[in-house]
Amino acid sequence: MSEVRKGKKTVLVACGTGIATSTVVSDAIEKMAKENNIQIEIVQCKVTEVPAYESRASLLVTTTIVSKEYPFPIINARAFLTGIGLDKLKEQILEELKK
């Protein structure tokens, strides 16, 4: 965690409790990043904890409502749970990771 390289993206993965759906989504994104040889740092947290990471995050992937505005894109990750629209979601995330 301490060796955050310059240019390495920090991806926040948030859900309501930070223990259930974000666990599944974090793992899925980690695998995607590995498969595509992209170095990222994933921070799994509650959606209420997101502001604490605002300055270092490049992307927020979440299964819950986000009522606050952030300077980074927010992607709804529900497809990781239902499987419906999963390919499109993966594409969308990958595009952000490659930016």
Binding site: G16, T17, G18, A20, V24, D27, Q44, T64, T82, I84
Partner: protein, 161 residues
Amino acid sequence: MNHVNFDETLVIRNIEGETSSEILKHMAANLYQKGYVKESYAEAVIAREKKFATGLPTNGCGVAIPHTDIEHVNQSAISVGILKKPVEFGIMGEETERTPVKLVFMLAMHDSHSQLTMLQSLMGIFQDEEILLYLAKEESEVKIKEEVSKRLNLNNMKGGE
């Protein structure tokens, strides 16, 4: 690894209720009676559901995965509720949209990060229309328990997607 309690007494069929809160109250009371959760769990899971809805519009029939913070839980457990008639739950990640839910998988999680495999297998169930329809229809709690247990432990042997 941390053990997840699940048996046929945690499978509740024909739950009746008008609102998601009534359903959650019923299922939480059962978990409390068995000692898996604290008295505070019911109220906490209902409050959490109102704030962060867990309904999922899956293929086959709608599901919900209500859960709350670990401090309300004594031992990890999962309870499966089959509703007599579908009840509207808020859709996860949506402000106002709702979806009719027939199957409720109530999670009592005692550890933050130890249940990845179980959770992934659970999502596997959600993505399998056939199993969802089977669970919605099956009349034997024991058979439902067996099927769900099998699915949640089967992860290692599961073929590639």
